[in-house]
């Protein structure tokens, strides 16, 4: 069987190359994977995207951050083990990443910080018990009591056709997501929902032009794909 079949041009990208492309995008533009309110992200930059604090009555806003590691993709057929709740079907990709969630725990009981990434409050300094929400607007850009956790995230999804800079591109759409070992189950469900929404938004910012998939070696107007074949993305079209 010919590569081009009934078309003039054929392109195939193995999953290793696809991961190289995604790694290059995420490493060059890490702000796509790191979001936070002003206590964690003092200003938007290449490294991180500043977002608004979560408003809540009686508080100056809940300070938060979300940071993902560069996702690793596995194209059908399955090479990367998945939790039993997920399965990789034809035309799908799986994704593995780690999410670090942080909040700036302002006020309330002091608790020793066992997260090495958090700031320690000096226990010798007395606090005014009436001051549950100290006005720390002068200290914005500096999380005073960060509390963080890391979660392993697995997901499956499919490719979508999109546009980047006026040319055809592939995008990544989420079908299902699973956290591992979070209890109770209800908390896992809430977090899975939250992370699914976050991951969908992050994936929406990740697109790869079709021309980049074949290093612009030949002009290609896709009429078939791009689609996930077996461990590769392929497309066919006209010259």
């Amino acid at each position: 069987m010919s590569l081009t079949e009934a078309r003039e041009v054929f392109v195939a990208v193995e999953e290793t190359a696809l991961n190289d492309l995604i790694t290059a995008v995420c490493a060059t533009r890490p702000h796509l994977l790191h979001y936070g309110s002003p206590a964690f992200v003092t200003a938007s930059s290449t490294s991180a995207t500043q977002m608004a604090p979560i408003p809540f009555p009686g508080s100056p806003g809940l300070q938060w951050s979300v940071e993902l590691t560069i996702p690793r993709l596995d194209l059908f057929k399955e090479d990367m083990p998945l939790p039993p709740e997920l399965s990789l079907g034809p035309g799908q990709f799986s994704l593995a990443t780690e999410v670090r969630l942080c909040v700036d725990c302002a006020g309330g009981r002091e608790k020793p910080q066992d997260d090495p990434d958090g700031h320690d409050h000096d226990p010798k300094e007395p606090r005014d018990p009436r001051d549950q929400w100290p006005d720390d607007r002068d200290d914005w850009g500096k999380a005073r009591h960060p509390v963080c956790c890391r979660l392993g995230v697995y997901a499956v999804g499919h490719l979508v056709s999109t546009w980047v800079g006026g040319e055809r591109a592939i995008g990544f759409a989420l079908d299902d997501l699973e956290l591992v070992d979070v209890e109770p189950n209800a908390l896992e469900s809430v977090l899975e929902c939250l992370l699914a929404m976050i991951l969908r938004s992050v994936l929406a910012t990740l697109s790869l032009p079709v021309s980049a998939l074949q290093l612009d070696a030949f002009t290609l107007t896709p009429t078939e794909g791009p689609l996930i074949d077996v461990n590769r993305v392929l497309a066919r079209g006209d010259f």
Binding site: F10, R29, S45, F218, F239
Partner: protein, 267 residues
């Protein structure tokens, strides 16, 4: 297995070749050579067109009926005396009544050397095999078709027409020479006999063959530092990957022959 595979069939290869050949534009060269017994200086232009592509595994792109349209401007020095003898007008005496005999001295008409410019154009067709060559030049991966062997250019009718053009040019170049009138036909015939078909092919072949054999036909170029995404703002710099290796070959994937580019990349 290569990480990225891009392939085109013969139809796309034909479109690619037509575009690249048209992009070559007009080629030019100049220099000095010989035309039979004459030393010539020349300026030649050539333009390639047409050609039917046949992909042949494992690494040949055959171009049939590749056409080269060419035009030559050449000039050579013609010593007329090499072809027709100098004219010797003897002493002539007339008798003038009541005066006597008056005589002219002998006069030698020495033929000059004239410059003969010739301008002529025609075309030639040939079939060439291109080998697929990969090179990394100035951080650019280049995939090119390189002519294998020396194409045999058949000039045919063009040589006869060029001989005719040379004859006309000689006649025009000597027209001003006193007393040449009766000898132009003899001179032209002698010059053309000296040049001959062999002289023309001996001139044209080495000049025109490099227009084909020396041409590298671009297939594709890939920067070693390949831009995946352009810059999209102050927080979105351009994204690059490194093309670690690039290869190209002709594959027979039944029922088609396809030109295939293979690459490995890293982030």
């Amino acid at each position: 297995m290569s990480e990225i595979v891009a392939a085109i069939d013969e139809g796309a290869a034909q479109q690619l070749f037509d575009f690249e050949v048209a992009s070559l534009g007009t080629m030019a060269t100049s220099g000095a050579s010989s035309l039979g017994p004459f030393a010539v200086t020349y300026a030649v232009t050539g333009m390639l067109s047409n050609g039917t592509i046949d992909l042949i595994a494992p690494g040949t792109v055959r171009v049939a009926d590749l056409r080269l349209d060419w035009h030559i401007d050449l000039s050579f020095q013609l010593d007329i005396g090499d072809f027709i003898p100098d004219i010797h007008i003897p002493q002539i005496c007339v008798h003038i009544p009541c005066v006597g005999d008056v005589c002219t001295p002998k006069i030698d008409i020495v033929w000059p050397t004239v410059s003969v410019p010739v301008s002529f154009g025609d075309f030639v067709k040939t079939t060439v095999d291109l080998g697929v060559a990969i090179s990394l030049v100035a951080a650019i991966w280049k995939v090119e078709g390189v002519v294998q062997g020396v194409p045999n250019l058949q000039f045919g009718v063009a040589t006869a027409a060029l001989l005719t053009a040379i004859g006309l040019a000689v006649a025009a170049a000597v027209g001003w020479v006193p007393l040449i009138g009766p000898f132009v036909a003899v001179l032209v015939a002698a010059v053309l006999a000296a040049v001959g078909i062999a002289g023309l092919t001996g001139l044209l072949g080495p000049i025109l063959t490099p227009f084909i054999s020396g041409t590298r036909f671009p297939i594709t170029e890939v920067p070693a530092h390949f831009q995946v995404l352009p810059s999209a703002g102050p927080f979105d710099p351009a994204v690059f990957v490194t093309v670690d290796s690039l290869g190209a070959e002709v594959q027979h994937n039944p029922p088609e022959d396809e030109l295939v580019v293979l690459a490995d990349i890293s982030a």
